[in-house]
Symmetry: C2
Subunit: 149 residues, 2 copies
DNA sequence: CTTGACCTTGGAGTCGACTCCAAGGTCTAG
DNA sequence: CTAGACCTTGGAGTCGACTCCAAGGTCAAG
């Protein structure tokens, strides 16, 4: 009672596309599956699990290259914890940095947005408006100045 | 006493590359500058300001296509506030969504990482380790299960 | 006058993760 | 038996923002 899937059946089962699965096969993420007499790919549930693994890793923001590493150790039966821990730690640091960056950005944008809305648009001269305070000579233009650092 | 710059002088003045400036010219972000008798580009400070504007917008995560829109209105002398406000509002919503997503992700990853480190690696069978709990039959494997949703 | 660092151009290559194509083969419902 | 929905392949195209290339021209120092 082992289920088999054609490429598009498996794709829709995991919410992906046939092209994507064939692409994963090409780049070595999915092994070549057995074929039907007619030459169709016949996937089973292990392929489905593997895809779930890939998608889980992708949700974490790992690249397909990272995933390939992880799958390689997963396949050998060696403990995948150490590499996984490293990938995770690295990615966690990236995520932290990104959150920090975005929060600073958000604050800046909110201030800019508020300023623009509050002053309700005093049109500057052509070419006057600028995003970098350093290049804005006239203090009048501060209203239209966004971007800093 | 108007300063002029060659392409690489201007590039290094704003922390960019000659190729990038020529690229911006090609896609219509920088106007064609006057040329020296020898055919060299001769930029002045307005080009420098324009680049500062572009870089400011880029730091906010706007695409070069967004920047082109903003520059177009800036150049006409029409008030750029309305389009700028729209771009900003849209981008602000994107940033908020991204922050939320990353914070959820961060929490998930931290939990996974802690679990892996705490249990100190009980090697699973080959192919057993997985990222998606739905495909992990054996509760023993929970230690090695990452990714959820 | 030569060396070498710059400049010019159009065009192609890079990255990641797909996505689409054409030309042909297979399978299923009616 | 045929229509049409699937499958196969290798290869090319897409996105954004550069980045690099070759073949040739210009310019300042020594």
């Amino acid at each position: 009672m082992s289920t088999t899937y054609t490429v598009s059946q498996l794709a829709s089962a995991v919410g992906s596309s046939p092209d994507t699965l064939r692409y994963y096969e090409r780049i070595g993420l999915l092994p070549e599956p057995p074929r039907t007499p007619g030459g169709y790919r016949a996937y089973d549930d292990t392929a489905r699990d593997r895809l779930a693994f890939i998608q889980g890793a992708q949700r974490l923001g790992l690249t397909l290259a990272d995933v390939r590493d992880l799958l390689a150790v997963r396949d050998t039966g060696e403990c995948p914890c150490e590499p996984a821990e490293q990938h995770l730690a690295r990615r966690l640091a990236e995520v932290d940095a990104e959150i920090t960056r975005l929060q600073a950005l958000r604050e800046q944008m909110r201030a800019m947005h508020d300023a623009i809305v509050a002053r309700n648009c005093l049109p500057p001269e052509p070419g006057t408006w600028c995003l970098d305070p350093a290049s804005c000579g006239d203090p009048r233009d501060e209203v239209h100045t966004i971007g800093r650092r």
